[in-house]
């Protein structure tokens, strides 16, 4: 919202990653080429989908973006600032301005810590004083639809959807420019998925966050992504505006991927939703889980 179009753009160029596994002293080591040169751009305030079957390299890409894994080649920069280059040093994860939300909301939260400490962890590492930490934690918890009082509770007192909200709050409190969500809703119930997806859309509108949304679920892509990139076997198969790619897939693999999704909504429904954001959401809801789900959305967004 505040950012001009080219102010904050994440550019990935020709990212490569090979995993080498040793098979003991006498056998040859086996190599897995997880990423074979992946390039893409993410614009400010955009929700960028990365879709593909498991093993296509999308999670490896996510881990490289946030710095949990080192790429073997290629480069990554945000608005001209280099995060890594093949021949240069890597920027440590926290300085990248990219935060991550993980798939499993149960393994994502240390069961020994209170929610307030979980959300404040990044600030505590950075040495932010206690009063400011508490203030920002309270703000962020409200932003994701929880209450400031929740910071005194433990993670096990929350449901899966609420836990994912805590994880998102933990990422947002770091004020990232980009948020990587790796299968962030695939462990949740369909109705809860909707609530989290709506919250992500809302966050994008309110704080202008750019989101890289990694999923294997075409209907999720359809629902929230502005642009999408389809990956297969470590390569980009196709990319473009989400609607164009999903409605008129040009590559055979994308066509197969879309055809494999079971659907309740008819093609006519999807065509209807082509033009604008408004009707698009409610119609998309049908492909996520039918009418039940739609009523859930219109009722409330709170968990």
């Amino acid at each position: 919202m505040i950012h001009s179009k080219h102010e904050k753009r994440l550019s990935a160029r020709d990212i490569r990653k090979t995993f080498v596994r040793s098979n003991g002293w006498f056998a040859r080591a086996s190599e897995t080429h997880a990423l074979k040169g992946v390039s893409f751009d993410v614009e400010a305030g955009e929700i960028f989908g990365i879709v593909g079957e498991s093993g296509c390299g999308k999670s490896t890409l996510a881990r490289i973006l946030v710095g949990l894994e080192n790429a073997d080649g290629g480069s990554l920069s945000i608005s001209g600032r280099t995060l890594f280059r093949a021949d240069g040093p890597e920027l440590p994860p926290v300085q990248r301005g990219i935060q991550m939300v993980f798939q499993d909301p149960y393994a994502s939260l240390n069961p020994r810590m209170k929610v307030g400490d979980v959300v404040a962890e990044g600030l505590a590492i950075a040495g932010v004083p206690r009063e400011e930490r508490e203030r920002r934690v309270a703000e962020t918890l409200t932003l994701v639809g929880l209450s400031a009082a929740d910071s005194q509770k433990h993670a096990f007192q929350f449901s899966g959807g609420q836990r994912q909200r805590i994880c998102i709050a933990r990422a947002l409190v770091m004020e990232p420019r980009f948020l990587v969500a790796d299968e962030a809703v695939s462990a949740l119930d369909v109705s809860v998925q909707m609530q989290i997806l709506n919250m992500i859309l809302d966050l994008r509108d309110r704080i202008g966050l750019s989101i890289i949304f990694i999923t294997h679920d075409i209907s999720v892509v359809e629902y929230i992504c502005d642009r999408v990139m389809v990956m297969y076997d470590g390569r980009v198969v196709e990319h473009g505006p989400a609607q164009a790619v999903l409605d008129h897939p040009s590559e055979a693999y994308t066509q197969k991927l879309i055809a494999s999704v079971p659907r309740l909504a008819s093609t006519a429904d999807r065509r209807l939703s082509h033009d604008q954001n408004g009707p698009r959401r409610s119609v998309r809801a049908t492909s996520l889980g039918g009418d039940l789900c739609q009523s859930q959305v219109s009722r409330s967004d709170g968990v």
Partner: protein, 276 residues
């Protein structure tokens, strides 16, 4: 987590252990006798004669007084051994499991080479080489005892390192020290405490074995193992010389094993299904 305090194992173990601890700490006020005072005229007195509740040994020393002073030595040695080996073992295990790669490879080779020696042999070798002293007994017992801690904690750290909350911490800038303190070490405490309880029992036995072999602390200090060794030659004439310190070892080790068993039950995920 709720601890089941009305458990028979806990009640027996805790009461036996507190009895031993009480004797070790305050026992010297309960008996008028000096543990090292010899009185050849009163040697080999059976229990309950002339005020010697547990009798006297071949030099006329009061056995109860010696057991009490031996308890202090045994428990102090065992506690220091458990503490030192626990800290070393947990740190080594946590770091090697979390870091993997070369540090892990090196520590695993070290662990394997230490583990290749029969424990008592290694302890004997160390004491024979460095000489008998309290510090050397502790060293000899510690040298292998950190290994069980490091094995268990390494396995757990390997699981923890790939958990999403540890990775999230890395993305937020958490360094090695932070992640160790915040996420790894607190999660290893439960198993470390269980290992410690059992390890305390075996440390007491090992110290007694070394003293029995005459390789423990210097002979002028009364220890349970040393008393057992001295009593061995009189076992047919005066059974109490060997049986009394043996009972001391037995009660302490049994109490610790019961407590360790109980603790393990308490931390068993199958028992406490609401672990999180």
């Amino acid at each position: 987590m709720k601890l089941d305090l009305l458990n028979l194992k806990f009640l027996l173990g805790a009461s036996m252990l507190s009895f031993v601890l009480f004797l070790a700490l305050f026992g010297s006020w309960l008996t008028p006798f000096d543990p090292n005072r010899q009185n050849l005229l009163a040697s080999l007195l059976p229990p309950l004669t002339d005020g010697h509740i547990l009798g006297t040994d071949h030099l006329g020393r009061d056995i109860l007084a010696r057991i009490i002073s031996g308890a202090k030595v045994s428990l102090a040695i065992a506690a220091s051994v458990v503490l030192i080996s626990g800290v070393v073992g947990v740190l080594v295990g946590a770091l090697s499991g979390y870091l993997r790669g070369t540090p892990d490879l090196i520590t695993q080779k070290v662990v394997e080479s230490f583990w290749a020696f029969p424990p008592i042999l290694l302890a004997i070798a160390i004491l024979a080489f460095f000489g008998q002293s309290l510090a050397n007994v502790i060293l000899a017992l510690t040298i292998q005892r950190w290994i069980p801690y490091s094995r268990i904690t390494r396995a757990q750290a390997m699981v923890l390192r790939s958990l999403a909350y540890v990775e999230a911490s890395k993305v937020m800038g958490g360094g090695l020290g932070w992640i160790m303190r915040r996420h790894i070490l607190p999660n290893l405490m439960a198993s470390a405490v269980i290992v410690a309880t059992f390890s305390m029992a075996t440390a007491i036995l090992a110290e007694a074995s070394l003293s029995f072999l005459g390789l423990g602390v210097p002979p002028q200090i009364a220890t349970w193992g040393g008393m057992l060794a001295e009593g061995r030659s009189y076992i047919t004439r005066a059974w109490w010389l060997a049986v009394m310190p043996g009972l001391g070892i037995f009660i302490t080790v049994l109490a610790l094993n019961l407590l360790g068993d109980w603790l393990r039950d308490q931390f068993d995920p199958k028992k406490n299904l609401n672990l999180t």
